[in-house]
Symmetry: C2
Subunit: 254 residues, 2 copies
């Protein structure tokens, strides 16, 4: 199974000034693509912090996705930080310089051109659907912070990450999770599924949602059967009719 | 200036099954309290991952806040992970056991009582506004994942983190940030403020929002003056009338 990490870069996220959209979007997309997201970090525009996080994530996971810090101003330091993390220099990339010159024409400035100074060894993925290429260094995919551009660029490369699928089915209960803790642990081990247990303290319909997830529908259904047999029927509010791909819109708890 | 990190623990966040509310809430509250949030990590319910993140954050920042993993089921491993991170054992805490017994009465189970097995050296903050105490280990404040409980517990201890205030004022422009990149860097250095530059590609009112932030209103206003003098007035859409505390509701960009 492929693993991934997301690194969101930007003071504006940590100060609460701008609410993250990219991380949440990518979490759901990776889930839908069957990729196991292991970690997301939100960090400031500080070279050393970015370099440390990227070095560690790149070594630990199959894919790393960054968001932010690739514009033309002084706080855009993602590319420099990648160079620092992996011990390479920066050099002007002719292809990207051409793209920038085409776009900005006579309005181009040195600050714009600085966006074409890439870590040595960085590659560009071009696609008809996007005006500017996606930048890749090893297993690090560099995406912009502006949500519309982030989405467009990720969608242009998304297919290459497809690695199966996760399926999910939920059981809604009026029961205290502590009373079924042993059952949950046993079924999770027996069936090789992932079981989540989410109490709702302020919900009138149910008090606990159990989610059962696995890569095969049959596994999910067997585990749901085990759970239903182990739980007092008087406490069951409802069981989802079937397992659905775990990126379906209706699987998110508000 | 006090620094902080947030560690959100839970597979359900990384799979996109539940959208985080606690991290975003705490980001904004810490900003309002004058605390400099340096980092937020979202990690899985894995003991080694939690221990590594907490050990590193606890050593690097003044405060660490965790969310999640403190319930009675098999995937609630935050307390064990703290014990692992700091090399201490777990022991049953009599005060917390009493709170649990009072609450659950004859319905109490071993799984419930397990929630009172705390890392040796953990302290409890009790407050009339909350039923259950806040758990603290050194500079690590352990909060529950359920948003309503997370909020209630944080608010019960929030005052102790007050450390001045940040003020913010925005300038809205029809200008390419690359054309004023040098000006932004200079004013930031000259005035000791933090300047953010946020392009809006799909906004009809303006194309760039500049934010100026500092701990004193005077600093913010001087920096805004410098910027307004340096920018072609034809490109200015509007300037906020005054600096506001940076946790004001109207400072968030949707």
């Amino acid at each position: 199974m492929k693993t991934a990490a997301i690194v969101l870069i930007g003071n504006e996220l940590l100060s609460g000034k701008i609410r993250d959209k990219n991380g949440y979007y990518l979490m759901r997309r990776l889930r839908g693509l069957g990729v196991d997201l292991k970690r997301m970090a939100v960090i400031q525009d500080i070279r050393e912090d970015i370099a440390r996080e990227l070095e560690s994530c790149s070594a630990s996971y199959d894919y790393v996705f960054t968001s932010g810090g690739v514009g033309p101003t002084h706080d855009d330091v993602t590319l420099e930080s990648i160079a620092g993390a992996f011990g390479v220099g920066l050099e002007r990339n002719a292809t990207l310089e051409g793209v920038l010159r085409d776009h900005f024409q006579e309005r181009i400035t040195d600050a714009h051109l600085g966006m074409a100074d890439l870590p040595v060894g960085m590659t560009l993925i071009e696609d008809d659907a996007i005006r500017w290429p996606v930048l890749v260094f090893g297993n690090v995919f560099v995406l912009p912070g502006i949500p519309q551009l982030f989405h467009a660029k990720f969608e242009a490369i998304a297919d290459r990450f497809r690695d199966g699928q996760f399926f999910l089915r939920s059981i809604y209960l009026n029961e205290d999770e502590a009373n079924i803790a042993d059952l949950l642990e046993k079924v999770e081990k027996d069936r090789g599924v992932t079981i989540g247990s989410y109490p709702r303290w302020f919900d009138t319909e149910y008090r606990l949602r159990l989610t059962v997830e696995a890569r095969a529908v049959g596994q999910v259904d067997q585990a749901c059967g085990d759970l239903m047999r182990g739980i007092d029927p008087a406490h069951v509010v409802r069981l989802d009719p079937s397992a659905v791909p775990s990126d379906s819109p209706d699987m998110v708890t508000p």
